[in-house]
Subunit: 449 residues, 2 copies
């Protein structure tokens, strides 16, 4: 039932575009859902994309534009004139239009704005450009339903019908005072079944109304919408005047980006990078982690060099260096990842350090005993029981300490308001390498005498 | 404006609960948003929780119940009688009720169901229990607005008013044939402004209607809702009969869990674990990764033991083992993480292996040259130019190969339908350890002669 984009379809389509076969495109492309058309356009070159895009109805064009890959959209828009861009913006919701405009240079922005015919829309967009994109102001749109508290249902329906043109998705109606102060929310369902003379004042919900301020961070908005199960949230200014609304779909994108960011920190990429960023930029962003890793390696070399005599006497000690460092790293990352996740989920408060520490320590004891026995068994079979003893004792100790540090460090970082996800990356691996090596050689020295 | 839970508040509240000071609780707790009340109850012991919960109005109880931490909810419910649980279920949406019931034993389920007074609701819940929880059937609820295509607006309003009692959040109305086949969707906005005699047939949208089947996976549902920007999606059975709907908030939870899963694979935790799982279970789930890591370490030991002579002659070679393995691991994880993320974002198709490989290789060359020069410089200053030369040449080679493997392995795993996120974990670190050591000692042997 749903459309599936295939290579074969694309091949045929490219041919039809080359032949300018409008009726084929009409039937096989333009009839599709806008999200599918956007998926198709993402795979075409700019000329092909333009050909199809301008065959589409105007208000569907806007939907397609917002569904395109960011890079494809940028490429596409940069091939349009200021007038053409202005035409596209008029069909977009204000928040989307502002996002697109925000990508352009200041000169270009002015030029595009001057070509817009709908002055009110232009004003809304210019206003939105003032807000930082990571705030509620930057996420909100200017299109929403609002009703004054002293209207009756008939009056409200008349007024809302005027507003309806601009508002694409309606979840509820924001109720305001004459002075535009946010008073509450009225669900469309409630309005639908109300009799004509009822006052809005007697219909709307004014208790526990959740709103956000324009200056609230996007993170705060996402948290509020998740916590209070909102599909849309009103945005107010410092005087509690209603200025916009944010819908859940915009916030879902933000939530996904945040989850990606944790993943990137854990894997040592310091900043979310567009897949098409330049090689210089990618290298630059990854370098800090690698330098931390290298410093750790040099520190590790320093530790080992302190035990040069032991290595000269028993070179076999060197064999198990990678085992010790790898296990310390793995255990440390496992422990810290758990802590980072529970912090990200929001169990920030009411200090639970001790139970976490006890749990991680117990897991480490259990796994440590098991793995240490295993490695001793293997060494015993290969007839080097003494070395096996050294390795298994150190392995156990390293696992235990790695778990403790892996748990404590993200908790400490969090306490000092540093993103604890940092701790899951190369940072903790490096620390555990150094500590692990020290333990290993100390045990070695002790047991070999 | 919004409620913030503090230690101080909790301390006072506990006192007031102990004193059974209902009027204080009335004023300071029951007036709050249900999500805030749930947050408070999460922090109380079971008796305190029950005291507050049963002071709340019945339909708010349902909202609170669904907002509680899962563990707290389980603890809370297990202290209720079957009759009490049944009462709670009657106030819940069918999907939530089924989720809660699904946690109980078969006997308990029967007992609870037998206590439910609303037979229709009971039937809905029992029906939902039949679906796997990771499918559309498992996510859907039975409450939604539906209208028959040949009704007019007046008739629709009468019928919808009857349905309205059960449906909490309404985004749109599903339009069906007399035989309950899904025909299309009607927005509430459209209905609101339509005149009384208009036929639904002339109002509703029938083109490009997106629906999911009961058997579709939750992952598929999340993808569809994201792609087509839906706040709610109709669920149909094999005969295209409308059987339920899924709302975006349920899917947001799923999306977050999926993102968590990638993070967990990258950090070596094989399965999403509840924070309160038993120590045995946690140990067991982490063990596979640790054993892989240990096997890698043993393989590494094997590689180094092949170069025992070199170490005996030049013990300083052993110093830089951790540096080489750590850098191989870090670079490998960085490269694989990028690939895993772009795969997760869905650029699965249209084989882009070569450009990815070229980009990662270029970044590796750039960072490799830089870091190798740095380490050579450091070694030179500390007056061991020959060893510095060995280390820097090997470091460069290791970084280059780690990037190549880090890019290729997740792509290969993906090709063979294995979750590529596996590759960001201990797996790639281990592989790179072994390869890195081999390169390092080979270069050492070569250059020291």
């Amino acid at each position: 039932m749903r459309f599936e984009l295939t290579h074969e379809f694309l091949d045929v389509l490219r041919l039809k575009v080359a032949e300018q076969d409008v009726s084929w495109i009409q039937e096989h492309v333009l009839e599709l859902h806008y999200a599918d058309i956007a998926e198709i356009i993402d795979k075409l070159n700019n000329d092909e994309a333009k050909f199809i895009y301008f065959l589409v109805e105007e208000d569907v064009q806007a939907d397609i534009l917002m569904e395109l890959d960011e890079d494809i959209r940028d490429r596409f828009l940069s091939s349009l004139s200021s007038k053409e861009i202005a035409d596209q913006l008029e069909n977009l919701a204000s928040d989307d239009a502002a996002d697109i405009l925000g990508e352009l240079s200041d000169d270009k922005i002015q030029e595009v704005i001057s070509h817009m015919e709908d002055d009110e829309a232009a004003e809304d967009i210019v206003d939105l450009l003032n807000y930082d994109e990571d705030t509620a102001g930057g996420l909100m749109q200017k299109e929403f339903f609002q009703a004054e508290v002293d209207w009756n249902v008939t009056r409200a329906l008349v007024e809302l019908r005027k507003q309806a043109e601009d508002v694409e998705k309606v979840y509820n109606i924001f109720v305001v005072s004459e002075g535009n102060q946010l008073l509450g929310v009225l669900s469309l369902k409630r309005l639908l079944f109300a009799s004509a003379n009822t006052k809005i004042a007697n219909l709307y919900q004014s208790k526990n109304i959740i709103s956000v301020k324009t200056s609230d961070s996007a993170e705060e908005v996402a948290k509020v919408m998740e916590k209070y199960d909102l599909v849309s949230v009103p945005v107010v200014d410092y005087q509690n005047k209603l200025v916009g609304r944010i819908t859940l779909d915009d916030v879902v994108d933000y939530i996904k980006e945040e989850a990606d960011k944790d993943f990137q920190l854990a894997t040592g990429i310091s900043d979310p990078v567009e897949p098409d960023a330049s090689i210089w930029k990618i290298s630059y962003l990854r370098l800090p982690w690698l330098i931390i890793g290298m410093m750790g390696g040099i520190l590790g070399a320093k530790v080992i060099s302190g035990f040069e005599d032991s290595i000269t006497r028993i070179p076999a000690l060197a064999f198990f260096i990678p085992l010790i460092t790898a296990m310390g790293g793995n255990v440390g990352v496992q422990s810290s990842a758990i802590v980072v996740q529970s912090l990200a989920r929001g169990d920030k408060d009411l200090g639970k350090i001790r139970p976490k520490l006890i749990r991680e320590a117990s897991v480490a004891l259990l796994n440590g005993v098991l793995l240490a026995s295993l490695i001793f068994g293997i060494a015993y079979i290969f007839e080097n029981a003494q070395l096996g003893f050294v390795v298994s004792i150190s392995l156990f100790t390293v696992i235990f300490f790695a778990a403790i540090f892996g748990t404590l460090i993200p908790l400490l970082l969090n306490k000092y308001k540093i993103d604890p996800a940092l701790a899951t990356g190369p940072f903790i691996t490096t620390l555990n390498d150094v500590i692990g090596l020290f333990i290993y050689f100390s045990v070695g020295l002790l047991l070999y005498g």
